[in-house]
């Protein structure tokens, strides 16, 4: 399997996304914003459509759209007076509607949009891998440097704010990293399933972990493991890689729940 270059590329890009998606997802889940990845996928879809319309790299435009969407959600949430998940709904539905309008304007419904919606990891090129590596490693490094600050704003947002911690800035960093993850994972698992790779490993890890740090570590392990196992099964069983990866991540939940239950 690894003699084939497209599989080596798929494993390289997938491994980075397998680390990044649960690492960013960890902070989203802890802030009870599990669905933000899903919504940013909707906004990124508008970016893909705009890229097709303008004949510019759909991934790059999707990245810009997702970042703008993430910033808009944070601003609406903190300064716009919207409550609960209204900010998410507002930005995401507008993003999806914009995507539909742009796609139909471009006459692009006949373009292979499926590769963005459901992933196309087996068509990943070296330039895709370098982009995923460069931005993915930069995002992971950012998480590493800001880990303590991000944890602080998660465990007690108001207490940290009163103590003078720049909580709004840290929240914005998480939102932008989520947008970046969506754009980078788009080719691997697809826009419709990208949020799953951010959320499912974290949810599963929470069943067996004993601390925040261990939750993050186990989630990243499940994320990478799901990508490697999912890709391997997809290769030998001739299945859709994106769906198989997410099914592997989903299977981790009952396994962890049983292990966690047995330990208690």
């Amino acid at each position: 399997m690894l003699r084939l270059e497209f599989m080596r590329l798929a494993f390289a890009a997938g491994a980075v996304v397998g680390v990044l998606a649960p690492a960013v997802g960890f902070f989203l889940v802890e802030r009870r914003q599990s669905l933000i990845g899903d919504g940013l996928g909707h906004v990124a879809f508008a970016g893909v459509a705009a890229g097709v319309l303008l004949d510019v790299s759909p991934v790059a435009v999707a990245l810009v759209f997702a970042v703008v969407g993430a910033v808009a959600v944070e601003l609406l949430r903190t300064k716009g007076g919207t409550v609960g998940d209204q900010a998410l709904a507002l930005v995401f539905y507008v993003g999806l509607a914009l995507g539909v309008v742009l796609v139909s304007s471009a006459g692009a419904l006949n373009v292979n949009l499926f590769q963005y919606l459901f992933g196309s990891i087996l068509t990943v090129t070296w330039s895709d891998v370098w982009l995923v590596l460069a931005l993915g490693l930069a995002a992971i490094a950012t998480l590493g440097v800001l880990y303590r600050g991000l944890v602080g704003s998660v465990v007690d947002e108001e207490g940290s704010r009163v103590a003078g911690v720049a909580v709004d800035t840290l929240n914005m960093v998480v939102a932008v990293l989520a947008a970046l993850t969506v754009a980078l994972a788009m080719r691997i698992v697809g826009l419709l399933l990208v949020a799953a790779l951010m959320v499912l490993p974290v949810t599963a890890a929470g069943r067996v972990a004993w601390s925040l740090r261990s939750t993050l570590g186990i989630a990243v392990g499940i994320g990478v493991g799901s990508v490697l196992v999912g890709l391997t099964i997809a290769y030998y069983a001739d299945l859709a890689p994106g769906g198989t990866i997410v099914l592997a991540a989903g299977l981790a939940y009952p396994v962890c729940a049983i292990l966690g239950g047995a330990r208690r």
């Binding site: 802890e30 802030r31 303590r148 007690d156 108001e158 207490g159 972990a209 925040l212 939750t215």
Partner: protein, 244 residues
């Protein structure tokens, strides 16, 4: 020379909606090192008063100062440790006592990189001070309500505060743990010289340790030692505390 007060409210009024004041013409001065309990009925404005002190709300009229500076303006030498109402730690993942308390060290140590050794020592000392040294690696969700509140107090102490603000700290805590929480707070005030603002509708737990009690009901309706409180206002849930 007049000593700078820890907290000063001068003719403060506040309304969330125009024409519906929550607090009207409140004047209050809390000296450094004082242990003040603020009580009153739900909707009486005590949490609003606390939020004004923390700088989370701005007074519609009047002035709120903390250690001589307008509330909300950061003072690196005089930090505020805050225990929010029904404090919970994040989402579903297990947070250990040490992870929680370390988060309280963010303001003095900055948000970048790992904690330095000196900061870790302050964290361990805060954990020990609330009597949780042997539970430092325990997930919060395995602790009782009373021990969990102690962990949050340790988090508030980790920034080495000059002012400790607690919002309804006895919610979900059994009567025995409430009493030991009151004793702990009084010891912290004595040992660290920290000013304590304790806001709760149940003041019985601290009635025997605070020097001063303020009852808030749209304004201040009582301000003095708990012993001077008219009998009709005593908290019956802690009658045994009267004998202390």
């Amino acid at each position: 020379m007049t000593m700078v007060a820890a907290i000063e409210l001068e003719h403060v009024s506040f309304a969330y909606r125009p024409g519906v004041p929550v607090l009207a013409d409140v004047t209050l001065r809390v000296s450094e090192g004082e242990f003040l309990a603020v009580a009153g009925p739900n909707g009486g404005g005590k949490t609003t008063l606390l939020r004004l002190v923390l700088g989370l709300e701005r007074a519609s009229v009047g002035e709120v100062r903390v250690f001589g500076r307008p509330a909300g303006r950061r003072d690196r030498s005089r930090r505020i440790g805050y225990l929010p109402q029904r404090a919970g730690a994040g989402g579903e993942a297990p947070v250990t006592v040490r992870e929680l308390v370390s988060a309280g060290r963010l303001a003095p140590s900055g948000i970048f990189g790992p904690l330095r050794r000196a900061d870790r020592e302050v964290v361990d000392s805060a954990i020990a001070r609330v009597g949780l040294a042997d539970r430092a690696t325990a997930p919060l969700r395995t602790l009782s309500g009373g021990l969990r509140q102690r962990a949050f107090i340790a988090k508030a102490l980790a920034c080495e505060p000059s002012l400790l603000v607690l919002d309804e700290p006895t919610t979900g805590v059994d009567a025995e743990s409430q009493e030991s929480l009151a004793v702990l707070l009084e010891r912290l005030r004595r040992d660290l010289g920290v000013t304590i603002l304790y806001v709760s509708h149940e003041f019985g737990a601290v009635e025997h340790v605070v020097e001063r009690l303020v009852l808030v009901r749209g304004g201040i309706v009582f301000d003095g030692p708990p012993a001077d409180l008219p009998a009709v206002w005593h908290d019956p849930s802690h009658d045994h505390a009267q004998g202390h």
